[in-house]
Amino acid sequence: MDSPQIRAWLSASDAMRHRGDWHGAIEMLRRVLSEDPDHARAHASMALALLGARRIHAAELEARTGLALDGNDGFCHLAAAAVLRAHRRLDEAWQHCLVAVESDGADGDVFVLAAAIQQLRGELDEARELLGRALELDAADPDALAELARLELGLGKLDAAAERVGEALAADPGHRDAHRVAGWIALRRGDVADAEGHARFVLREDPADRDNLALWAAIKARRSWLLGVWWRWNAWATLRSDHGQVAILIGSYVVARLAMILAAAVGADRLEEALSWLWLGFCAYTWIAPILLRRMLARDLEKVELDEDF
């Protein structure tokens, strides 16, 4: 049985986590775990807060600790599923989600996460069904509505997606995920200005979030082909795990060097030299492009004030 103090800290950390104050939640949970290092739910909650703060490796360790301490707790399985989803280990994530879905305390968060995982696994009908279950619990659940809008967007049903995202934003005008989806819908409809409004909103909330940056970069790519090239490369490379990214970088290096060696072997010295310069240019470009993007982003966000509507 938790002491009143621990219950208060846990409750405060939950509130902080739900409003996106990841670091506040982490510090609150640190207090709980300093008092009771074997508190399974605190470890699971810590995993979710660390995940929000993009410390996914520490999140994985915390989720594992939570599960080791209480392998029957649905919330511990929910945290494990969320972490594994971030690692793109979708089959394992789904196994944990199944346990969380079938546990007694399954709430809307569990169904929305399960739907998001199934959507990534390509099980769209099942994802829709899970979102339906979340909406049965709360018809105005903005998380479920935003996820449903993403599902419709993926299917190319822009009107349905816009309707769902409108409902999500009516339920919670500051819902980040709904704004992100709304931005993508606007971009698909060619309304770059509207997309930019949504992107600005989420970037002001969290300028380092990868999904927010992906939306912003896509908007920028509509206006500059050079940044478009970088964005497509970066999106392709960064959606993978750390190991996947390293493999891509090394693979690019090996392919470039092999091309140079083969060019030299057939006596095409000028081609070898051109390839060598091209490779160096590519290295320099990929090195500075993210820095340039971040600086541009900071400058743009400082320059323009948001409309009251956002």
Binding site: I26, R30, L33, S34, E35, P37, M46, L50, R54, R55, H57, A58, L61, E62, D242, H243, Q245, V246, L249, I250, Y253, V254, R257, L258, I261, L262, A264, A265, L280
Partner: protein, 164 residues
């Protein structure tokens, strides 16, 4: 009551003011050579107080040992006449360069996890330019320190012609 330590949190010691971004040793591998990169990774792991420092040090030592083993094999194959043509030698050297870059990226990725937390909590980050410029200037002298192909293979970087 002792504060709970989250698994990725650094514990910087007296050398904490000398921490650099993990991309700095990676850049050193390209510009200066492996003789700067591997010791710098080890130093940075210790200065940062990285919870994965033992793994980072083991990977750095393994990178040197692996390069030496690959170098010995390539030299033996060249001496035995198995590898003769310039293209074959360049391909063999490419394998060694790929090993180096792979290990460097692996250590950078591992160290970056702790570094980001260190930086978030306001840890001081040193500008690496002085070491990079010094290493670049001294590169030729260090690589030419011994008249040995194996030495050159071990201490060189991978941006120079031939991949090493």
């Amino acid at each position: 009551m002792k504060d709970y330590a989250i698994p990725d949190e650094p514990r910087p010691g007296r050398l904490g003011h000398l921490v650099v971004r993990p991309s700095a040793p990676l850049l050193a591998l390209m510009l200066c050579g492996a003789w700067v990169a591997w010791p710098w990774y080890i130093f940075n792991a210790i200065a940062l107080g990285s919870p994965t420092r033992r793994r980072e040090i083991a990977l750095s030592v393994g990178a040197v040992a692996g390069t030496a083993v690959l170098g010995v094999v390539v030299i033996a194959l060249v001496d035995a006449g198995v590898i003769e043509s310039t293209t074959a030698i360049r391909l063999a050297l490419l394998a060694i360069a790929t090993w180096k870059i792979g290990m460097a990226y692996a250590i950078s990725t591992l160290q970056a996890r702790t570094f980001h937390v260190y930086e978030y909590y306001g840890g001081r980050v040193r500008n690496p330019n002085l070491v990079l410029i010094g290493g670049f200037i001294l590169r030729g002298a260090v690589i030419g320190l011994f008249d040995s192909t194996l030495w050159r293979i071990i201490v060189a970087g991978y941006l120079a012609k031939g991949g090493l």
